[in-house]
């Protein structure tokens, strides 16, 4: 997932590097808004989503502010994880890492990191996560469908019986929802 987060935070430098004189011309385009109207996954190509869309001046201001804030949160969050690990967090065992991430002190940073991990895992692969559509394939989601779309039969039909499975967390989520 670092591909997604690196691509996102990396655009801060792109936005800051853009001088006042360029008005977007020839400046590198931040990897924030993938192009359209479709990718090459269901067309003969090219992948139009791989050409990112230049930001208008108002959007540039908003994203500079947002990314600078996130970068600061990542810097202090990683420092916090190292502190809780008593050294280098990445050298702790996976079980130990999970324990640290679940500590109340890490709650704020975990929320940011988890949210961005979800975004990266299930967003269009042009953003740097979901490599080879691994995130979509894991959950049986086809992702973007244009310019193919779906047939009338695919829209209307019943896909047949398919059990949700017996994972206890699924049952617990349903039980929780029913209690609302």
């Amino acid at each position: 997932m670092t591909g997604y987060i690196d691509a996102m935070l990396g655009t801060l430098a792109t936005l800051e590097a853009a001088g006042p004189a360029d008005e977007g011309k020839a400046a590198p385009v931040p990897v924030l808004f993938a192009g359209g109207p479709w990718s090459d996954r269901h067309s003969a190509g090219p992948d139009l989503m791989a050409s990112f869309i230049p930001l208008d001046p108002v959007a540039r201001l908003a994203w500079r502010t947002r990314l600078a804030d996130w970068q600061q949160q990542y810097t202090s969050g990683i420092a916090l994880l190292d502190e809780l690990a008593g050294g280098d967090f990445t050298q702790v065992t996976p079980v130990g890492q999970d324990e640290i991430l679940a500590r109340p002190e890490a709650c704020g940073f975990l929320s940011l990191l988890f949210g961005h991990t979800i975004e990266g895992m299930y967003s269009n692969p042009e953003y740097g996560g979901n490599r080879g559509r691994a995130g979509w394939q894991d959950i049986g989601f086809p992702g973007d469908s244009q310019p193919l779309g779906y047939t009338s039969a695919e829209v209307e039909r019943c896909d047949g019986r398919d059990q949700a499975g017996d994972a206890s967390v699924v049952a617990d989520v349903l039980k929780y929802l029913e209690s609302l």
């Binding site: 977007g24 808004f33 993938a34 192009g35 359209g36 109207p37 479709w38 989503m49 869309i53 208008d56 001046p57 108002v58 959007a59 540039r60 201001l61 908003a62 994203w63 502010t65 999970d98 679940a102 975990l110 979800i118 975004e119 895992m121 299930y122 967003s123 269009n124 995130g135 979509w136 894991d138 959950i139 049986g140 989601f141 992702g143 973007d144 244009q146 310019p147 779309g149 779906y150 047939t151 009338s152 695919e154 829209v155 209307e156 039909r157 896909d159 019986r161 059990q163 949700a164 499975g165 994972a167 967390v169 699924v170 617990d172 989520v173 349903l174 929780y176 929802l177 029913e178 609302l180």
Partner: protein
């Protein structure tokens, strides 16, 4: 503004109302300038053939990154609960897209017509304690020809023969331009449940091409529909009248430019607008300017139009400017099917719906209302079908795991939930869009401290769910659950949006604040949307609404804008009784 020389109109906003205003005035020979605060994500708007677009099947771009804006960092709003001393929230509050095309770039394009009783709610249904009910200055019969015309322009699919009797009685109409497209599985399953409990579901009218129309393509059921821009322009909506305006050669579209004030001159009955001031961001900072106008047409959507009226210090003889904000009362139905994947990611967002709950005489609802001290408790249209996308689904599980697995709210169990997809692929959603009555203490004002990127005070929305809406939700929550259970759902929940949001309004059906009416003593705009006390300022968006109609407002915004702009253009009206009444 008399004489044969072309009159010049400045139109503020390029969405549902502004686009029809531009079309009508440009066709009548006016010179038209449309200012749009946001960017233009389209190409070939004024040309022939298909319109091009940068919109795509991209959840991240649309739902997490504000591609259709407004970004809450640069254009926040604040929300204040009714009675609270100060704002409780700063950020996105009932935002609509801030782009060329406005709200119609992301709408689900469901276009039910308001009913006769919606336009005559006070005289037809009587007063409700605490609410500021009134009749509109025209009837369903008066506005029906404009609904017809709007539908011909943008193209609507539907099935007249399947339209239930109650809809035809309250909003009689003729055939649709196109037959209904394929019906989503999740919609059909819920519709079967609705029919089983005595409701009358049917393929809903939608401004989405089921066949090629207007030179634009037919829908190919891509599934990224509501909350997305259409990648194939099968839902061109406001872009159609905008294109018709641009093709006259007399209309100019100016994107990325925010109107910051309407200049007023003169006094008393002669008080009028001379033009507008605007500001635009560049890489060197803001650049401002002005544009003169014979007439100014405000169509920035209800909350922003009120904000601009307040920034421009409009006269307010009725003391109703910015009051009676109506945002609808949304109740969210969640039907989970543990034995079947409902694949709501295919097809249009909502294909079936029912209007039974908009009937004030829905069985049992009057008795429930009376027991709670009200004459009626009205729901509204129920939209059936649709689900959430994987990012929103993941965020749902993130929140749920924090509650049920606090010691390890991530990891393998998160993946199990994503694979089971109880809150996406097994979910068939439905929404009750409840009538929200007008209340004088639901307001838009200027926030005392929060400013936008240009340093101007943002809109403060003061709103809490009203008494009628709470009573109606109490009645309809069990009705929705019964419907979903009859549809075969293993788990059926019906939860008001405000439970999730902590009381904050949601979704972006924005109406009221510049209420229409015959008398300057009791309304903000006159019977044709002209601001009382200002000779040449008109309003052509949802802010002129008198009631909220218990259903999606956008096609009514279009029809009312068309009626009022035709009057302004001097082309007369097609409805005799309308002209006589006003």
């Amino acid at each position: 503004m008399s004489g044969a020389a072309a009159r010049k109109a400045v139109i503020i906003g390029s969405g549902a109302g502004g686009s029809f205003a531009a079309m009508e005035l440009a066709r009548a020979g006016w010179q038209v300038i449309v200012f749009e605060k946001g960017p233009n994500h389209f190409t070939n708007l004024a040309g022939e053939g298909p319109i091009g677009t940068l919109f795509s099947n991209d959840d991240l771009k649309m739902n997490a990154r504000h591609f259709a804006g407004p970004d809450p960092i640069t254009f926040p709003r604040t929300w204040r609960p009714v009675g609270a001393p100060a704002a409780a929230y700063t950020g996105s509050v009932d935002e609509l897209p801030q782009v060329v095309g406005g709200g119609t770039v992301h709408w689900n394009a469901h276009v039910p017509r308001f009913w006769d009783i919606d336009f005559e709610q006070l005289s037809a249904l009587g007063p409700v304690p605490g609410a500021d009910l009134a009749d509109w200055p025209f009837s369903y019969r008066d506005i029906a020809p404009y609904y017809d015309e709007v539908e011909r322009v943008i193209g609507v699919q539907g099935d007249l023969s399947a339209t239930p009797g109650i809809v035809m009685r309250h909003a009689p109409r003729g055939p649709y331009q196109m037959p209904p497209g394929p019906q989503q599985r999740a919609s059909l399953v819920l519709a079967a449940g609705a029919a089983a409990v005595g409701m009358h579901p049917h393929p809903v009218p939608m401004a989405i091409n089921s066949q090629p129309y207007n030179g634009q393509r037919a829908c190919n059921n891509c599934g990224f529909c509501a909350n997305y821009g259409c990648p194939v322009m099968a839902r061109p909506s406001a872009l159609v009248p905008l294109r018709l305006a641009l093709r006259t050669g007399r209309a100019t579209l100016v994107p990325e430019t925010m109107v910051t004030g309407i200049q007023l001159a003169g006094s008393g009955a002669a008080r009028r607008a001379t033009g507008v001031s605007w500001v635009r961001m560049t890489s060197r900072g803001p650049v401002s300017g002005g544009e003169s106008a014979d007439v100014v047409v405000m169509a920035a959507s209800a909350i922003e139009t009120v904000r601009l009226a307040l920034l421009s210090q409009f006269p307010d003889p009725s003391r109703k400017l910015g009051r009676r904000l109506m945002l609808h009362s949304f109740t969210n139905g969640i039907a989970i099917f543990p034995d079947e994947r409902m694949h709501a990611y295919r097809g249009r967002s909502t294909t079936q719906g029912a209007e039974d709950a908009a009937d004030p005489d829905f069985p049992g609802s009057r008795a429930h209302a009376r027991a709670n001290g009200l004459p009626y408790a009205r729901g509204g249209v129920i939209e059936m079908g649709g689900s959430q996308d994987p990012i929103a689904e993941g965020l749902s599980y993130q929140a749920l795991l924090g509650l049920i697995r606090p010691s390890r709210p991530f990891g393998a169990e998160f993946k199990q939930l994503m694979r089971s997809s109880v809150l996406r692929d097994r979910l068939a959603g439905c929404t009750l869009i409840g009538d929200e009555l007008p209340y004088l203490d639901h307001t838009v004002t200027l926030d005392p401290t929060v400013k936008d990127v240009f340093g101007l005070p943002v809109a403060q929305v003061t709103w809490s769910l009203g008494q009628h809406e709470q009573v109606a939700q109490q009645f309809y929550i069990p009705v929705l659950k019964k419907m979903m259970t009859a549809a075969g759902a293993g788990t059926a929940l019906a939860v008001p949006d405000t439970i999730y949001s902590g009381g904050k309004p949601t979704r972006g059906h924005v109406m009221g604040g510049m209420m229409m009416g015959a008398s300057p003593a009791s309304s903000v705009t006159d019977s044709h949307g002209r601001v009382h006390g200002l000779d040449n300022v008109y309003v052509a968006d949802g802010s002129v609404f008198v009631t909220s109609g218990a259903r999606n407002p956008t096609n009514t915004i279009m029809a009312v804008a068309l009626r009022n702009m035709r009057h302004l253009a001097g082309a007369g009206t097609t409805a005799g009784s309308d002209a006589a009444r006003t």
